[in-house]
């Protein structure tokens, strides 16, 4: 029996209950796991659209004249180079190079940024950012999570639904004209909404940040507008299988404090070429360790595994050679609704990481054959 009274409820909790959602505990929140069927919700996002409540995510506002310089120091990316109304996938690392969290940073104002952290790391990221801000004279770090709701519409019909939604006005410009990884101000019933063309599903889609009190009205407006476009509410279960097919890492699975961005195949987010005004290497937290990791021979590599049988590899299962000798561990795995066979991501020794390599996974005591394949498993047609 878990004590559910201590869990945080989403501002959309009553909507989920009214829709009959199965709720689950996630990072201290009670969130929808599924509304009807995991597979139906997954398929809707791939073919029409899904509506997600992501209000558990952490929103942290970074402001002040030193905001960009602070983020260049605190994060591994080059955020001062992020254009106004752009978005960037990045990470915050520890001094030893281990990943504290993966983040999306929006430059929604010229001199202010919105940092979106995973729910499970929200407090840790907030603490780290506050500590790292101490050396800057003029930067503010403000937790906006309690008053902020986040709703996502994801899927090929997302743009049509956005445009059909009553009360939603693109006052800041046409997001449909923006590239992926952009954000624009808009209004819903006259109140501000930040619309971002970002997501975690492998499909085109949009994320909407707004005041928590306005969230239920926007949620219902989307459902009403989406009814003719195949929009269905989708839970965390579909979100997980969608991001897995899209080869996107999940913190706690592919990423953790003992993993560097390079280990996860995401070395591109580490901007070792960041420079100071005089052209020297720009110091940032984790720099020395990440430089060393860049120069070192990798000890593990993140790969995709395609299951050749029907039993799916799951998080934590051993990866082996066909003869059973251990070569790694599964980080995420599930039957892929889109592909019709099991898929998994795993860390393996680099010698067996080449696509085409035949391996096995110990699935509850029995070896199941798998093959290394390139990530992602699924890429949308453009």
């Amino acid at each position: 029996m878990r004590d559910e009274t201590m869990e945080t409820l989403s501002p959309l909790h009553d909507e989920h209950v009214a829709l009959g959602a199965a709720l689950t505990s996630f990072a201290g929140w009670q969130m929808p796991l599924r509304y009807t069927s995991d597979i139906a919700e997954h398929v809707a996002v791939r073919t029409t659209a899904g509506l997600f409540d992501l209000s558990h995510m952490g929103e942290i506002r970074i402001g002040g004249p030193d905001a960009a310089a602070f983020l260049d120091y605190a994060l591994v990316g080059n955020l001062s180079a992020l254009r106004f109304q752009g978005a960037r996938y990045t990470m915050i690392c520890a001094e030893d190079g281990g990943v504290v969290d993966d983040l999306i940073v929006y430059r929604d104002e010229q001199d202010a940024f919105l940092v979106v952290a995973n729910a499970s790391n929200h407090e840790v990221v907030l603490d780290e950012l506050r500590q790292r801000a101490a050396r800057f004279a003029d930067v503010t770090v403000e937790d906006r999570s309690p008053q902020t709701a986040l709703i996502a519409v994801q899927g090929p019909k997302a743009l049509e639904i956005l445009r059909a939604t009553d009360g939603l006005d693109e006052t800041g410009g046409d997001i449909g004209e923006s590239k992926y990884y952009a954000c624009l101000p808009a209004t819903f019933q006259g109140e501000p909404v930040l619309v971002a063309r970002t997501g975690y599903t492998g499909e085109d889609g949009f994320e909407f940040f707004l005041d928590a009190a306005r969230a239920p009205a926007l949620w219902r407006a989307f459902l009403a507008a989406g009814a003719d476009h195949g929009l269905v509410p989708a839970g965390l279960s579909a979100r997980d299988s969608l991001r897995l097919e899209a080869g996107m890492p999940l913190y706690g699975n592919e990423l953790d404090r003992s993993t560097t961005p390079q280990d996860a195949g995401l070395g591109r987010v580490v901007k070792l070429d960041k420079v100071t005004a005089d052209g020297g290497p720009l110091p940032f937290v984790g720099r020395a360790a990440l430089e060393a990791r860049d120069a070192a021979t990798p000890t593990k590599v993140l790969v995709g595994l395609e299951g050749l049988g029907r039993r799916a590899a799951r998080h934590g299962y051993p990866v082996t050679l066909p003869d059973g000798s251990p070569v790694g561990v599964v980080t995420s795995g599930a039957p892929s609704p889109t592909l019709g066979h099991p898929v998994a991501m795993a860390y393996v020794t680099p010698e067996v990481g080449a696509p085409g390599t035949e391996l096995a996974v110990d699935v509850r005591g029995r070896l199941e054959p798998v093959r290394v394949v390139p990530l992602p498993f699924y890429r949308r047609a453009r």
Binding site: M1, G20, A22, L33, R34, S37, D38, I39, A40, H42, S237, D240, S241, R310, R311, A312, R314, A334, P335, P337, R364
Partner: protein, 124 residues
């Protein structure tokens, strides 16, 4: 969530149901099917297999998780539900009917619950 339990069945704490007969029929409850989510794969014992009450005899896999199937009885498997193996979604849609799993010639049973007892323990 389906919560209406057929009263003529026996249940186990591991969320199987058993219908007396010659042979008897075994399946999993709606509680178990709902908790798993969309079932995509069933691994069932072969016809002729000897079951031991309380032992793991198969697996039920969904997109989200996997669960072991425990036999509520000892006996011999007479028939397995091939149509459920071919399309496991029937276990979600009709767990007490078309989504049955095994027919077994029962020699003895393990600990069983009435529908009221099962409802009480699975409500927690």
């Amino acid at each position: 969530m389906s919560t209406d339990l057929p009263i003529d069945l026996h249940y186990t704490v591991e969320h199987e149901w058993l219908q007396d007969g010659s042979p008897s029929t075994i399946g999993i409850t709606a509680v178990a099917a709902d908790a798993l989510g969309d079932i995509v794969y069933l691994e069932l014992p072969a016809v002729g297999a000897e079951l031991v009450a309380g032992a793991v005899v198969g697996e039920i896999e969904s997109t989200k998780s996997v669960s072991e199937l425990f036999s509520p009885v000892s006996g011999t498997v007479i028939e397995i539900n091939q149509s459920a193996i071919d399309d496991p979604s029937v276990v979600n849609s009709d767990p007490y009917g078309a989504g049955w799993l095994l027919k077994v010639d029962v020699t003895s049973t393990g600990p069983l619950l009435t529908s009221d007892e099962y409802a009480a323990q699975s409500a927690g």
